[in-house]
Symmetry: C2
Subunit: 768 residues, 2 copies
């Protein structure tokens, strides 16, 4: 663990005391987002110490020219990159001519930050003694409105406590920002106009190349001792920046306050000629409601989210804080309102990795959104990939595939590939399977088949075509093989016959065939439309069948297990527990070649297959594979502990399941990977939710019913969660003694509990 | 073939006619070098069209900060890069106020370039009509002195042919140059002083970071109609550049000539405070001798090289031109005078790849230098690696090896790694074996064992240690394996048990063990010194033995061949001849993953092993492997055709051998790979020499004697070559009818010809 400065608390993330070495980490941990925009917890006022400034608009990206050491054929020339957006939160503060700057002032006392997850706001307070001797007391609060998602609000109060002071607030907008993560130091933003009036300012800027037109805006108002005042500002506008100077002569112990409203409007939601008009309307609404009412609405909106998504844990405040932090950040990142968006691996908390969509969405995030929101949210996520199908086909064509074969990118923002290691971009192709699996999973959970004839089948066909073409017939083994891949375990590159990939490929083809038949039978007009488009011949279907019927799987008779890949047993099979601790984490201590020839597994690989296709293997088989592979697993991916936690719980290894749970739920809060300053691990947070619901709660869908086998770690006295299953809300309360199921619905619900069928009446409770 | 504008000629490379699209290619092809410095064939006068300016000083490099897309642990932070050096050849020419510039003038006629390989000079002549209507006739000649290797000389004559003209020669020095191949646009040179007097100028500049202090210098003299004249110059010195303006009022048809001497002195050869003094001395010598005498000496020096190194081919002028071009460029690049230097893959003709030393030196170049020069040259090349042993041990330590294990870098300038693809840097480890093989090869050819106790044994021990530690014991197969490598065929990455690598590793260990015993017995004091240093225990030797005695080799019973690597037969085995031509070259047409999972071979891999260890396999075995692997070989490496040519000749497949020969010998002249504008392929040129001497000539060393099985392509009427074998010079003349052996020596020589023992008396001739 890297850090433990976050105070345990059921509902808030709290930091006390100012430490310059924690600023970047806290900027990540206290980030705010509302699904449409977000920002790191940068200070409003000037800060000259180490900081990572970041403000982001959902869906606004920049195609940065690829940078690699050695170019490989097939790399896309440009990769979409998460883009640092113009800054609207800035309020510099000048006290008797000296800028307030926590890095340079004489001392900072009583520093406290709170991210209130229940109500959705961030606050900060401190006392600073400036170099000029003046002491000021500052408290700031801000939030990004969930309801008006182009709007944010800041309240910033300052009190001179040891004398009168001339205090100037300098609220500003700045579009002269840069990305930390830029390949060629390109300019990303082109400012076209700065418009200002007495109290409002607007910067119109568009992204280079992608031409996203944006308007960043602000308006400020002032009070002394809560009494509104009017101050005539001086305004400077130059160099992509507009700064207002509001000077106040403040008596000792008077409270000088600024309320600043601001945010972004973007031409993806409005006509680009109307951006300033819309921004003005937003400001009108904001002023009419005022800061306090907006904050009340914010609390109400978050209460609505928590009502459905909350998980309670009794008797373990760190575990409770961890799961709420995960649920909160997921909801800050993605709310399912916009089909063009997805769940970025760092959300609105950093730039790293580029792109916003990984296979994480399909493999890890969809179950969370399916169960805690309306099922349309999950459907919207599936539609996102449907909209990228043409690009996935193009992507496959670039790599030499044909005839409508689709290879979805490893990472994307707009359907194009955003990754540039050949061993990932070209070879980590199992990602394609996760997209098909998500379609299956959506139907299994929601019972909504309509997505498949409408959109899903085309995706399934493109994916099946890819697998058929990607397989190689080995005359040597008289079977189909998949050569040269990287599995989920990225500590192996360019291996032959990764079992997970082969299994998934075969499943994808069969699932596509199955759905072609079903759509043909049940949705003949959709079938006709699709066939007209994709032009599937009988001989092509025969080719698919030939691959899926004759797939090769590496297997060890001696161990009675599927091998992660050909040759796995030739490695030096020393378990992680026998590895010297000084060698961990191997991704920091070992050179890449050493990692590659070792048996160590970064995240579930064969076991990921057992997680997806649980029904196809009995518990003894799972146990044999878990016992073989987990001891070689170093869990150096944020996505690793959750799957193992679920499987350990299933195998009744509750200690192990609990350890994995803590690791996934407090990964960022406790900074297990020493990198939280770069941003949070958003997508693995959905894995934390799964660890509780599917792991301890044992929730599955079986034959159109929810099924539970609940367990509880001995460290907890009770826990509860809610799921929305096909329009019915089921609350599950698990204590050491018993489990209650509560139903909010108009009709009864059948459940399987420990494999026994139970019926709950509407709005009733059953105890097991 | 990309181009065919080079006129066939026995001794010269000739270009006629001016074509802006050929300028960069010709700049490469007509490059000059003298082992200590070199330069692309850039024009002396201004040229504003597409050009690649390059001037290089042997051994002067820059450690450029590594650039990769995704960093892998173990990459060195800096990679040594071939460095573009200050320009001393520049002479701008102003005619009636208009700069002479072949890109912008009205027309260029009678353009002709000649690289005279026999005499070692470059000339250029043309008639240009300027925009102002004046016609000038220009002829320029330049060379880099072989004897005074810090000195170059230029003669530049201009005749106004349709009127009188005011002509200004502007000879200059410029240290404000940049590299095309720079990762971060760093400044590479720091100019400390510009010193000038009436006719001489000196720029002292040092390289950033590596601190090579250099002085670039020049002096010019003038004549009209060959009558020396004195002109008082105007001088401008600023911005890292010093320019002299020599104005002449030249009558129609008068010859205005400048002779410019210049070059570099470097603190690796002189005290850094003496650089200008030494430069002045060089200029004194140059002036005393004058251009014409220096040119005569140049011819004599090249004659001496050709006397020993020439290969004649009768009846095939393109083949003749090809082999001489190869021999000429090798001698321009490396003459074996300086143990700190090596044979860069692009010599002094380009920047690409960085570093100057690849395994090419040991695997391809040493035989050429051993046979055509004093054996000390080859010994000097071996010493180069001995001097880098500590760095090779450090390099291995960075990758987790210990106890003196040495891994030589894939590419280097100073002993540090200069490559940054993990699949090459970390995994193409067979390079280590080539270094041991070169020691063996040197002893086999020269009979000089002394290198081994003095220096070689330490290298062999470091290498053997590496292999022992790099091998993995597979309990599964009960043998040692080498996992995760890239073989010579770089179209496979991260494979297990590349046969060539495993075979070489086992051989390296055995060869080290053999030499430890021999040195122990025959050089006890060297043995004691070495053992004191390397601390080899009996148990470590036992570990070595255990690896070399139990090495695993992938093998196919069905085909009775060693497999290139585990799983090779699982590929889709379509031969190159069955591959659609539109797919070639695959390194331009296919994405990297497709190449990797294909069976296609970039250059000899298994067959490289058969080349090195020919004696250990009978001809039937070679034939079986050649017939299996060559059909999958695309020869997309410059190093590929030569080995195949030699083996084809051995197998009596003369047509194939001849095709491969042409491909290697005219690779750059005919630009097979469409990249000659970036520079020449210097190291593979030694392979061309081997194709004749070892291929057609069938020369081997067997039991301390030279052995020949001569053959001749039907396209040739005769060919001849000379070799220096242990101080005796043997000339071999092969015609369609017979083979003559001529001996220049004081003692008789025993030879094997077609396996029969023959004795030649001193200075005698034997016909077979």
């Amino acid at each position: 663990m890297n850090q433990d400065y976050i105070k345990p608390d059921n509902w808030s993330i709290i930091e006390e005391g100012f430490d310059v070495n924690r600023v970047k980490s806290s900027e990540s941990l206290f980030s705010l987002g509302n699904g449409a925009m977000g920002q790191r917890a940068n200070f409003e006022e000037q800060y000259s110490g180490p900081t990572f400034q970041g403000s982001y608009i959902a869906g606004v990206y920049y195609p940065d020219k690829t940078r690699v050491g050695w170019w490989k054929n097939g790399y896309p020339e440009y990769f979409a990159k998460v883009l640092n957006a113009p800054n609207w939160i800035g309020i510099n503060v000048i006290v008797n001519g000296e800028p307030l700057d926590l890095y340079t002032c004489k001392s900072v006392n009583h520093f406290r930050r709170e991210l209130n997850m229940q109500e959705g706001w961030l606050s900060r307070s401190f006392t600073a003694i400036l170099k000029n001797g003046l002491e000021v007391n500052v408290s700031a609060k801000r939030f990004l409105s969930l309801d008006l998602d182009e709007l944010g609000a800041i309240q910033y109060k300052i009190i001179p406590t040891n004398g009168d002071a001339e205090i100037t607030f300098q609220p500003y907008l700045d579009s002269g920002i840069t990305n930390e993560d830029t390949n060629w130091d390109d300019k990303f933003w082109d400012t076209s106009s700065i418009v200002q009036n007495d109290c409002q300012a607007f910067i119109e800027a568009k992204t280079m190349k992608t031409d996203f037109y944006t308007c960043t805006y602000m308006e400020s108002s002032f009070s002394i001792n809560a009494k509104p005042i009017t101050i005539n500002p001086e305004v400077q506008a130059a160099n992509n920046k507009v700064v207002y100077n509001y000077k106040g002569l403040i008596k000792q112990n008077q409270v000088f306050a600024i309320h600043k409203f601001g945010g972004y409007v973007v031409d993806s939601n409005h006509d680009k000629s109307e951006l300033i008009t819309v921004a003005k309307q937003n400001l009108e609404v904001a002023k009419e409601k005022g800061f306090d009412q907006l904050l009340e609405e914010q609390k109400a909106s978050w209460a609505k989210i928590w009502e459905m998504a909350d998980i309670t844990i009794d008797g373990d405040v760190k575990a409770q804080q961890g799961i709420r932090f995960n649920i909160f950040q997921l909801n800050q990142t993605y709310l399912g309102k916009d089909a063009r968006l997805n769940i970025g691996p760092k959300g609105f908390t950093g730039e790293k990795y580029g792109g916003s969509t990984y296979w994480d969405t399909e493999a890890y995030c969809i179950p969370f959104y399916m169960a805690t929101k309306d099922q349309n949210v999950a459907r919207t996520l599936l539609e996102y990939r449907y909209h990228h199908l043409d690009k996935a086909i193009e992507n496959a064509e670039k790599l030499g595939f044909k005839n409508g074969a689709a290879l979805y990118p490893m990472v994307t923002m707009n359907g194009e590939e955003c990754h540039n290691e050949w061993e990932i971009t070209f070879e980590e192709i199992h990602r394609n399977g996760a997209i098909a699996f998500a379609i299956f999973n959506y139907y299994r959970y929601t019972g909504d088949y309509s997505f498949i004839p409408e959109k899903g089948l085309e995706v399934l066909i493109g994916i099946a075509r890819f697998w058929q073409q990607r397989a190689t017939f080995s005359t040597n083994k008289n079977q189909y093989m998949i050569l040269g891949v990287t599995g989920p375990n990225e500590y192996e590159n360019n291996v032959n016959n990764n079992w997970y990939t082969n299994y998934l490929a075969q499943w994808c083809i069969e699932y596509a065939l199955e759905n072609i038949s079903q759509v043909k039978k049940e949705y003949p007009s959709d079938y006709a439309r699709i066939m007209d488009k994709v032009k599937l011949s009988d001989s092509e279907l025969k080719d698919w069948k030939s691959v899926s019927d004759n797939m090769y799987y590496p297997y060890s008779e001696k161990h009675d297990i599927f091998l992660q890949q050909d040759g796995f047993l030739d490695k030096e099979l020393i378990t992680v527990s026998d590895l010297d601790k000084s060698q961990r984490p191997i991704n920091q201590k070992w050179s890449w070649d050493r990692i590659l020839r070792s048996p160590y597994i970064k995240q579930a690989d064969v076991l990921q297959g057992f997680y997806f296709f649980e029904d196809q293997f009995d518990d003894e088989t799972l146990e044999r594979h878990f016992d073989f592979y987990e001891p070689f697993t170093v869990h150096e991916s944020s996505l690793s502990p959750c799957v193992h936690s679920i499987q350990a719980a299933k195998l009744d290894r509750m200690d192990q399941a609990y350890t994995f749970y803590l690791r996934t739920s407090r990964l960022d809060l406790d900074d297990y990977n020493h990198e939280v300053h770069e941003g949070l691990h958003i997508t693995s947070m959905a894995g934390t939710w799964m660890s509780i619901v599917e792991g301890f709660g044992g929730m599955r869908v079986s034959d159109n019913k929810l099924s539970f086998t609940t367990k509880i770690p001995e460290q907890w006295s009770a826990y509860s969660f809610k799921v929305n299953f096909r329009g019915k809300i089921l609350k599950v309360n698990v204590s050491q003694a018993e489990t209650n199921f509560e139903l909010e619905a108009n009709e009864a619900m059948e459940l399987l509990v420990n494999n026994k069928l139970i019926t709950i009446a509407p709005n009733n409770l059953v105890t097991v």
